[in-house]
Symmetry: C2
Subunit: 118 residues, 2 copies
DNA sequence: TCCTTAGTTCAAAAGTTATTGAACAATTGG
DNA sequence: CCAATTGTTCAATAACTTTTGAACTAAGGA
């Protein structure tokens, strides 16, 4: 079972920019980029917002074509659509990620989750 | 007399993205980029929106640090802050403009204004 | 089967942004 | 000075977006 995603051609520039123009979603994208290749589930982002609100933001990212969401069991595995975005808008995602990496004003993900050894 | 502009350091990534995430404003930026170096006044954009509404959108662009607005007589001369944006977010504006140039869904500026020779 | 985990959906409330028209201000040309 | 041109401000409204909590679904383990 797959959730609805736009095709690469359907990805719209103003929509991508508007969706990235939100600190919570930019923080999600920055974190996804920092864990490139590792599919993450929604709960990784609970630092940023409530479960319900995350569901909303992650749907926005998916509907804009910025992320891909795959249902696996009760989880959703989320990845960046780097290739599709790069084909459609060359250089855009990379420059956004680079800028986001250096932005201290964005909320952080994962700073609370230190694996505590037993 | 100069209108208030953010300094380069004050320019915020999410705000820039949110402000660019609007078709009218993206069309303004695309047109400014196509006339690089030539300062344009507000009336050039009347194809896109009413005078009042343009005033609003142009203020958003200025306050986000995307454009510079200079008052000259009763006119406002508007230019892109390309250098400041490039320093702050390298590659971002260029990729947005390149993507906007190829976007047929964006409203067009100036298609009605053909200089009629006498 | 029952419970837990993971996430969605829905409707309401809160907040924000866009659009409008009327009134205003400032400059410039006649 | 007067009128036209250029653009702003203000208040109202319309339209969207974000956030919330409660109720829900679906899968997986005990």
């Amino acid at each position: 079972m797959t959730l609805p995603h736009p095709t690469a051609e359907q990805i719209s520039l103003p929509i991508v920019l508007a969706v990235l123009g939100d600190p919570t979603r930019l923080a999600i994208v920055r974190y996804l980029a920092s864990k490139e290749g590792v599919p993450l589930n929604c709960s990784k982002f609970l630092d940023l917002a409530s479960k319900t609100n995350l569901s909303y933001h992650l749907a926005k990212l998916r509907e804009a074509g910025i992320t891909r969401t795959e249902a696996v069991g009760t989880s959703r595995l989320i990845t960046l659509r780097r290739d599709d975005l790069n084909n459609r808008f060359p250089g855009l995602l990379d420059s956004v990620i680079a800028a986001a990496e250096g932005d201290p004003a964005l909320p952080a993900v994962g700073t609370a989750e230190v694996e505590v050894p037993v």
